[in-house]
């Protein structure tokens, strides 16, 4: 159905819900590239005023991508939980936004609401919020997941140790891991992006991680971020797979461009759960997402990039993941042009993910052709720390030498933990103290020459 709004004698007419959502979205280069952005500042606010008055019930009757042609739409509508939705079923988008910010929407109530909210509803509410409001609501959410430790508790911030090497060299990877561990990083996961998806190479990285973890009895999980089909093959060959990783998107066609679909993810989830390698829980999936991936694959169906992104969270939550993060600034300036757009998008993604019940982390990052630098990342990191982000990345010196982009460093994690009083996952924090890496207050102890972790690196051949 079409929606209309009159501002000073000018009538704005929006053909359908997806058009209102796109035009209401804060400016970003990807929506301009797609030809979906508002043409004027006034049109954008006209769309926001229009969006505010749309009943949430309309979202259940008007799919932004047709039910018949998209399995993600079918997933969203078929798994919508009517009882959870009931308390907000009479709201408009604007009323939802106001209510989310009110004192009555507390942590427990938001947790119970998650299954009743669709990605499009979350995206719509986010478009009516300023940055501080995205932070304020996300901070009230708490999504806790478990495998060998407990991630996402309020007051805690975990890190994915990302020890990538351009040639997947075992000693090079081990050197970065040891450096990271000695800086207190790695409680979300020790996760390698392999330079090649070759199963033998992936397997040898998996085995190396598993030996290291067991040797030092580290209460964390490991992952080599290969394609899900490679992981499935390795699971069937009894390789030590803790977590199965996959990049996912918010439309069936986006996922097809990644070489996946929902049945394949289901198969991978079941196979990984069956390994029962978790000790305190069995959340076994790790998903990465990012605004712009649908447009980049020519698979956005005229839906704006933030709404497409939120729809990816419906895919993620079906499989009860341990970790989900948007790789927000990786995609480049044609989708998110500068620090301002990257920061806004990251706060939207974190908010939408948390509201939908996901254990949301964030790769606070940028590429060299984006109008951004470490100062922008410092701002975003601090904002996400306040917002209660579950985890961030830990990359040596913030410089990923394999993927050629900049993320957050081990030092950055120490900074944000220190200024905001955040702590690692409890099990990992205990280990850091036992290893005499940190003291009880979480401060790094003076680094020692003969720490036994340093011996780990020499185990590996060049």
């Amino acid at each position: 159905m079409s929606y209309r709004q009159i501002i000073r004698s000018h009538t704005y007419c929006f053909d359908d819900l997806k058009t209102v959502l796109a035009k209401a979205s804060p400016l970003r280069s990807g929506d301009v590239l797609a030809g979906l952005a508002a043409d004027t500042y006034e049109e954008r606010i006209a769309a926001q005023i229009t969006l505010a008055d749309i009943p949430l019930k309309n979202f259940l009757n008007e799919a932004v991508i047709p039910y018949e042609s998209d399995e993600v739409t079918r997933l969203i509508l078929d798994t919508h939980h009517a009882a959870s939705f009931d308390p907000i079923s009479h709201f408009t988008v604007g009323q939802l936004r106001d209510w989310l910010l009110s004192e009555s929407a507390d942590t427990l109530i938001l947790q119970n609401l998650a299954a009743g909210i669709t990605p499009e509803m979350a995206a719509a509410a986010s478009k009516l919020m300023r940055n501080q409001e995205l932070i304020a609501v996300a901070r009230k959410c708490e999504v806790v997941t478990r495998f060998r430790n407990t991630i996402g508790l309020k007051g805690h911030l975990s890190t994915r140790l990302q020890p990538n090497h351009p040639a997947d060299d075992a000693r090079g990877i081990a050197a970065s891991i040891v450096d990271g561990l000695l800086y207190g990083s790695g409680d979300a996961v020790i996760g390698i992006n392999p330079a090649t998806d070759n199963p033998a190479v992936v397997r040898s990285s998996l085995e190396m991680l598993d030996v290291l973890r067991q040797q030092y009895d580290i209460p964390t999980q490991s992952c080599v971020l290969c394609h899900v089909t490679t992981a499935l093959q390795l699971v069937s060959q009894n390789a030590p797979v803790d977590l199965t990783f996959q990049s996912i998107g918010g439309t069936e066609a986006t996922n097809a461009s990644f070489g996946i679909n929902l049945p394949l993810l289901e198969e991978a989830w079941e196979a990984t759960v069956a390994l029962k390698r978790g000790t305190v829980g069995n959340n076994v999936m790790y998903f990465e997402t990012g605004q712009g991936s649908s447009l980049s694959a020519g698979a956005h169906h005229g839906v704006d990039q933030q709404t497409c992104e939120a729809r990816a969270y419906a895919v993620a939550r079906k499989f009860k993941p341990l970790l989900v993060n948007s790789v927000v600034g990786f995609i480049g300036p044609e989708y998110l042009y500068d620090g301002k757009q990257i920061i806004r998008a990251a706060l939207e993604d974190h908010f939408c993910g948390k509201l939908l019940g996901l254990p949301m982390g964030m790769d606070v990052c940028y590429t060299n052709h984006a109008e951004a630098d470490q100062d922008d990342m410092d701002n975003l990191l601090t904002l996400l720390g306040v917002a209660g982000c579950n985890y961030i990345m830990g990359v040596p010196g913030a410089d990923d030498i394999m993927l050629n982009y900049q993320s957050t460093s081990f030092h950055d994690a120490l900074y944000v933990r220190s200024v905001l009083g955040l702590r690692p996952a409890p099990e990992f924090e205990m280990w850091l103290q036992q290893q005499e890496i940190t003291d009880k207050a979480g401060q790094l102890l003076p680094s020692r020459k003969n720490h036994m972790l340093l011996k780990a690196v020499n185990t590996y051949k060049a």
């Binding site: 280069s29 301009v32 590239l33 020890p163 990538n164 090497h165 060299d169 000693r171 090079g172 990877i173 081990a174 050197a175 970065s176 040891v178 450096d179 000695l182 800086y183 300036p333 044609e334 042009y337 590429t367 060299n368 052709h369 630098d373 470490q374 040596p396 010196g397 913030a398 410089d399 030498i401 050629n404 900049q406 460093s409 030092h411 120490l414 900074y415 220190s418 790094l444 680094s447 020692r448 020459k449 720490h451 340093l454 690196v457 060049a462």
Partner: protein, 258 residues
């Protein structure tokens, strides 16, 4: 005053005693720390690397120098532009960087070129620095091989503010069987000047990346000019023989040599 530590002591106190691990990776490990921060020396080293990368993104082609050097190689050339009017446009609208602007298209069309084997295209991409430094030295190795093998060449096209796919339209207008574009790659912190070579058989607008082959990281500290030229020449020969490029064209050069 005597209780204040000397600067040298401060530097020592922030160092990590595992700097020997740096031998195993070029990752920024064992940086040391002051509080939770990276020590200044390492912080400035990072900023310098980023400055090089940023400058590369905004660098421009040294047209006079390139023109002079192409003349020395006896290569006629044409200078054209994409539809992106400035760098900002270029960065936000990759679609515009893939198309020639109207007058450029006219310019190539009115050449009414003879059919030829290869159209060589030189484009700034995301690092004109890479082109300024490496395009001509690479051609010094590559050209003699192509000429000796009897390949006919279109005039070299220099395209400003271009993406890889501009080579489709350019190659087609020049009636080339294969287009070869030398283009500046997205700068990394450790490589602000990396050159990529992409080639496409039967170029025409609308092709996507699976129709091409790519040799990347061409620079003295990455893939050196002579090896890059060997690889490109080998693959171009294979492409001409099989009349295709893309996923079906595999780099089996090492197998042949082995």
């Amino acid at each position: 005053m005597e209780h204040l530590p000397k600067l040298a002591d401060l530097e020592n106190s922030s160092a990590d005693p595992w700097s020997s691990l740096k031998a195993f990776t070029s990752a920024r490990i064992a940086l040391g720390r002051t509080g939770t921060s990276v020590p200044l020396k390492e912080s400035l080293a990072f900023k310098l690397a980023h400055a090089h990368a940023r400058d590369a993104v905004y660098s421009v082609l040294q047209l006079e120098k390139i023109a002079k050097e192409l003349q020395l190689l006896n290569l006629p050339f044409i200078l054209v532009q994409s539809q992106a009017n400035n760098r900002q446009d270029y960065l936000q609208r990759p679609d515009l960087g893939r198309k020639l602007n109207f007058s450029s298209r006219e310019q190539l069309a009115t050449l009414s070129a003879d059919e030829c084997d290869i159209a060589i295209i030189i484009a700034d991409g995301l690092s004109a620095t890479a082109i300024n430094e490496h395009a001509i030295p690479l051609l010094h190795f590559l050209l003699p091989k192509l000429q000796q093998a009897g390949f006919t060449l279109a005039p070299v096209t220099i395209v400003e503010r271009a993406r890889v796919a501009v080579s489709d339209e350019t190659g087609q207008l020049l009636k080339a069987k294969l287009s070869l574009i030398l283009i500046g790659e997205r700068p990394g912190l450790s490589s602000p000047n990396s050159l990529g070579a992409y080639f496409t058989y039967a170029p025409k607008p609308g092709l996507t990346d699976e129709s091409r082959n790519c040799i990347s990281n061409i620079r003295p500290h990455g893939l050196p000019y002579d090896l890059a030229a060997d690889k490109i020449f080998y693959l171009i020969q294979e492409a001409s023989r099989k009349q295709l490029t893309g996923v079906a064209l595999k780099d089996e050069m090492d197998l042949l040599q082995g």
